[in-house]
Each structure stands twice: as C-alpha cells, then as structure tokens.
Symmetry: C2
Subunit: 391 residues, 2 copies
Amino acid sequence: MTYLGTPAGGGLIPLTTEVKATRGQTRINNLRLALQIIYRDQPASRAHVARESALTPATASDLVDELITMKLAQEVGTGPSAGGKPPTLVAPHPDGRTIIALDLSGEEFIGAQVNLVAGIVATLGRPAATGTAALNTVTGMIAELSKDLPGPLLGVGIGTPGVVDPVSGIVTSVNLRWDHADVVEAARTATDTPVHVVNDAHAAAVHEYAVIVPRVPNIALVEIGTGIGSGYVVGGHLYRGDLGATGEIGHIRQFDDSRLCSCGRSGCLEAVASMKAVIEAAGSHHPVTVEGVKELAAEENAAPHIERAADDLGLALAAAVSVLGITHVSLWGPVAGLGESFRSRVEAEIRDRVLPVDTDQIHVRYATAGQDAVILGAAGLVLSAELGVVW
Amino acid sequence: MTYLGTPAGGGLIPLTTEVKATRGQTRINNLRLALQIIYRDQPASRAHVARESALTPATASDLVDELITMKLAQEVGTGPSAGGKPPTLVAPHPDGRTIIALDLSGEEFIGAQVNLVAGIVATLGRPAATGTAALNTVTGMIAELSKDLPGPLLGVGIGTPGVVDPVSGIVTSVNLRWDHADVVEAARTATDTPVHVVNDAHAAAVHEYAVIVPRVPNIALVEIGTGIGSGYVVGGHLYRGDLGATGEIGHIRQFDDSRLCSCGRSGCLEAVASMKAVIEAAGSHHPVTVEGVKELAAEENAAPHIERAADDLGLALAAAVSVLGITHVSLWGPVAGLGESFRSRVEAEIRDRVLPVDTDQIHVRYATAGQDAVILGAAGLVLSAELGVVW
DNA sequence: ACTACTTAGTATGTTTACTAAACATTCTAC
DNA sequence: GTAGAATGTTTAGTAAACATACTAAGTAGT
C-alpha cells in the first residue's frame, strides 16, 4: 500500500505529458502539498496551509483534517493570536508511520527504525557480508526491524554502494560482490511495503539537502574516504539519470596515473584523490577516518599529496558541477579531517576551471550531515516517495 | 495567453510537491495527454486515445472534441474497420497555431514561421549583429515574422549562443557581446505571446530528440564546429540545470594545453578539439564546414590531430555522459565530415573511460537533425511548453 | 440475407473534490 | 464593551472524470 505516492519519472523541463490526471490524483497532490507545508513550517495552522497552498480555507481545512485522520499530522495546541481567533497548530505526527532504513556501505551493515520526524527509534548492526549472504542479511535485518514498530510501516529504504538501476532497483556493486542483484525482490520476502533502493552517496545527498539551512535548491554531496562517490540534488530533485551510474565520478578515467583503482583499472579519481590513496601516497599508515586524516594533515611531507588531491578533485568536480549546473558542493566523510586549506583549494580550483559566468555562486563546504546520513537519507527518500515530504 | 502550459519546474525524482492541483489543471493535463497521443500515433481515433490514456471513452471523446474546437486537431477521414464501426481519424491541425522561431547562432540571424507539424512556412535572414543592435534585430525580426501568419501565434522560441538563465531567460554570450541581456523583455516589445529563450545547442538537442527513431529517452547533442557546445535530453526532459551553463563542456578547463580559447583562457575542450582548432593544428586553411572538414580528413598529416581530438572529446564526454547517465551521443555540425573512424574512436574512448557497467549501451552517432535543428528545436520547445507535445 | 458479434462513439446521470460565500468563534485594540 | 480581525466551518454550487447503457456501423458465419 502506498499512501501518497506519485508515479516515478518527472523531469526538469518536461517535453510531454505522460499520465492521466484524475480527481483522486488531485486530492493526493493537495494532501501532499498540505503535509509538506506542515513539515516545512511546523507547527502550522489550517489558515496558514490555506494561504501557502493558495487553496481555499475550506479545502485546506478538509485536507488537514484528513491528514490528522490518517495520523500523518496531529494538533499540538493553540498558537498566539494575531489579532483574532488564535490558530490551532498542527504538526507532523512522529509515530504516525515508521520507516525501516538500511545502510550497507560500511564495514558493518546498519539498520534502523526511523520515525516521521527523522528520529532513529531503534538500530541494529550486522557483520557486513557479500553476494547471496549479503542479500540474506538484508532480508533478516528487515524482518528483525519489523518487530515492535512504533507505527505502521511506511516502507523500506536501502542505501547501498554500487550502481542502482533507477527503475528496477537492481544493484551492481564491486564491494558487495553483487552483479545485477535484485535487492527489491529479496526485501519483498520480508515485507510487502514499498522498497526503495538507492546508492549510498545519493542517500547521503538527500539527507544533506534536508539538513542544510537555509535550503539550497541544488547540491552535490561528495563522499571521500576509502573510495569516492557522489550524489546530486538538482532543483529540489534527486538526480539519478537513466542508468543509475550518475554518482560514480570516482571511476571516470580522466587522469594519467598508473596507480591501480579498486575497480581494477587506473586513472580513476578514486585512485588518485581518495583519502586512502593520499595516505598511501604520503607513505603513512593512518586509518581512513576523520581522525586518521587529521593526523595525516598535520604531517609536513603530506602537504604536496593533499594539494595534488585537491587539484585533481577540483578538475573532476568542475566537470560534474558544470554539467549538472550545481552551485553547492558538500564534502562528506573522512575528508573532513583536511580542514579549511583543502576546502578553499578545491573551491578555487573548481571556480578556475568552469566557464567564468557567475562562478562566485559556487561554494564548497564540508557536509552538515553526519555519519547517519545514509540511513536518514534512505529513510528520507521513502518519506518523499510515499508522502511527498522532505523533513 | 498560454494554451496548455504547465508551470516551470518538475524533476527526475521529485522530493516534494510544489503546486496545488485543481480541476482545471486536471483538464489541462488530460487535454495535453490526448493531444500528445494524437501527435505520436497520428492519425488516431477517439477510441485509441481512450485506450492509450486509460481514460474512459466518454472523457477521451470529450477531450478530442475540445481539441478540435481549439483547432489543435482536426478530423481527417475514416479508418479501416477492425471488425466493427470504422474509426473517425483525428490528426494534428497544421495551421491551428503558428510559432515564430529564431536562430542567432550562425553568421546570419535566421527566423522562421513554423506550423504545428514542424513545417517551416516562411523564413527571414538578417545580418548578425552584437550588443544592443542584436537585440533590436531580434525585435525587428519578430515584428516582421508576425505578419501574414497562417494561424494564431502560439509563442516565440529563440535559440541563442551563450548561457541562458533558465528562469529569467537572461543571456550572457561572448559571441553576441551580451552581458546579462534581457532577451525576453526585448521580444515582448514585439509580441505579447510567451517567449522562450534557449541555448542553441539545447534547442538542437530537443530537435534531435524529436527526430531520432525509435525515440531514445536520453541523448546528448554535441555541436562541434568553430566552437563546442552541447545539450541534453534526459528521460524525455530537456536538462538545463539551475544555472543554464549545463551545455558548456567546451569551456571546462581540463586539458594541459597552452592554445588560447575563444573564452580568453586555455585548456578548454574547444581550444583543443573544435574543428577550428584541429584545422589550425594541422596547418590547413579549410573553412569550418562539413565540406572543409571532409577535405581536412582526406589529408594524410591531419590524422594524428584528428585522433587526438577524438581522444580529448572522449575524455570530456565520458564525464558529461557518466554524470548525466546518458547513453546516446549525437555529434552535430561540421564534425560530421570526419566520418566513421572518428565516430568509433570517440565511442571507444568514452566506453573505456566510464565505469564498466553496461558500457555497451553507450552509442555515439552523427546527428540525424540537420541545419535547421536550432530553429525547429526552439519551435519545438515552444510547442512542448505551451501544448505538452513533441512532434 | 439474416443473425451474431465487434468496435466506435454518445447520452445520461453519479461521484468527487475544489470553490464561493456566508457565518460562527474567539481573540485584540481602543 | 464594541468594532474589527483572524481562524475555521457550514452550505450550496460546479467542473470534470466515471459508470452505465445506449446507438451506429461495420465484419463474419451460415
């Protein structure tokens, strides 16, 4: 059962109309719109929803009532008067639904129950696996997390390394040794709710988009640690492309370098600018963590290697950012240990390489999102797919 | 007056709902849908529209009747019976509306009246200009082309070199010496119909998308001649990005090369792989046309320069194609003179550089669209924006 | 040529969900 | 304490899709 889901698809400048519109879809659209206003401006009054949506007070009131009946929203008291009757305030209902989210990108598989206000209610860890064993672990974790839910299950979101087919959800991942693995099918044996599979960096990008304030309409999240991956939110929409390989800037061969990459080739960005590569190039043995990278940055002889990584990263990001039309880049993961000098060098490099029109709009920063970005991003994607809302 | 326009925006994986839905929008959506089916499967019967749209026969019939009343469609006779009453066939109405389209990308400004079935009814040429004079020429051409229209004016589409802000339509172009020129404002002095301004390569991409059969959902059109520009259609949608600089792969500095580029810098793809650059590198003096490039390709000493251009192009396109998730690349313009060896080398280079997952889906070809691609693409964009249709 | 069946399209009435407009409620301000 | 203002609800109206039953006009079999 989907709640307020929309069909997949859409696009930045749509050239055609693809699906019929019905009264029911009108209602769903407006329920989603009302709920989104309640999320964005929480707590919000019925009158506020009416103003913001441009719907009439009667309709807005009716929509809000229905959302309350559905337990997606709840009344939370009375607000201050603005010269008249004081508003009845309505806010999201935290436990109206529960989302199960999985993060398969780390050395341990992590699962969580997430409520409707981005709260992690329960967590679960399992040793990482590969191949069919990994699929079984996924099924088992979903079954385990389906117990003792605080609210009805809205859906399952899975953040995984590798390339995810945007339509089928089929995954190909070197790390997990999956070759066209049907993760959705595997998950369906443990649940009959909607299952959304998404690349880990894409999930993190969705969460980064949600937590940056003020909200920026287009961002790139670039994860730099053992490997390099990225995800893009453009005009408030997750960009995946038709092949799902959109984020794989780590494995575009664009450098003249002989070091071997995890993908088995050479010349990839990952082989020259990942934190693992930089640590190895500097002859150090720090772990690939924020702390390890911080220690590396403190060493004198590491500087030229770090600077070269910044330049290489700038080169690769200039292309991605320019093609997608992105202004805000968030660096995420162990790279955060490199500090301001690295950040500004990457930013300068990108600005220097793209077409010199409005380049001062381009900003590079370290991500606001934390370690749970993949979990919360995967959950957030379920939330937005099923309810049309970003928390 | 817009006819069946939708608000700008949308997105590939929409995270939120942005506008309210009303009965009126439902009707517009379904009118667009019906019209699109009539365009796609022309001629189509009312029953066919009902089947394809999943609307009931009564509703579909009503929609088609309204489209005929609006003169967007017309009955064109009776089809063969399929075992029952023979269908009344309905097709697009060629002169139900007229679109004015301008192409400012060449050495001559070209304008045309275009009917609803991609037919060029009348053309107009004016010497190219720059700065304010160019704006005045645009206004004058629109005024001139507004005379003797075969049908009511649907809107104006302008294909221009340079960066076009997707929201405001403001243009910055080195060639036309425009720095944030408000082309929409200028056009409005000559017409009160909707004006759509679009980068020339983007317009050509829209037309290429329309003419490739069978239709491919995601394509890149790369124009290679004096300069290099590109446009992308992703999942059936024109991709412009938030900044409008999306197609400018010709001016991302990613090569270690000292040759000066038209943008005043060095290291750009345009400076190393445009046909102008290759001709100069080979020490030849051919004109930058298909014929000139063909003659160049016939020269022995040109081969290494052409090969290097293919490799550089492959490097740049690998990044763009991979990030956007595009499978079909069309090369357009004078580059067509280089033939099969160049094409296959570019294709092989891209496949070698992107992540090796499903790379055999990636195809490079010479564009099907011809010289009038910018005119017809700009007109097509008006058609799709106002009526939701691709011809 | 008659009957049975199939496909196209229409007519009539119903349902859904937004709108319009009046009204009730409860506060602030003077 | 009255006027005014903001919140929210009630009632009636309407647009547009849907459901159902119909007519129209053909093919196919006997």
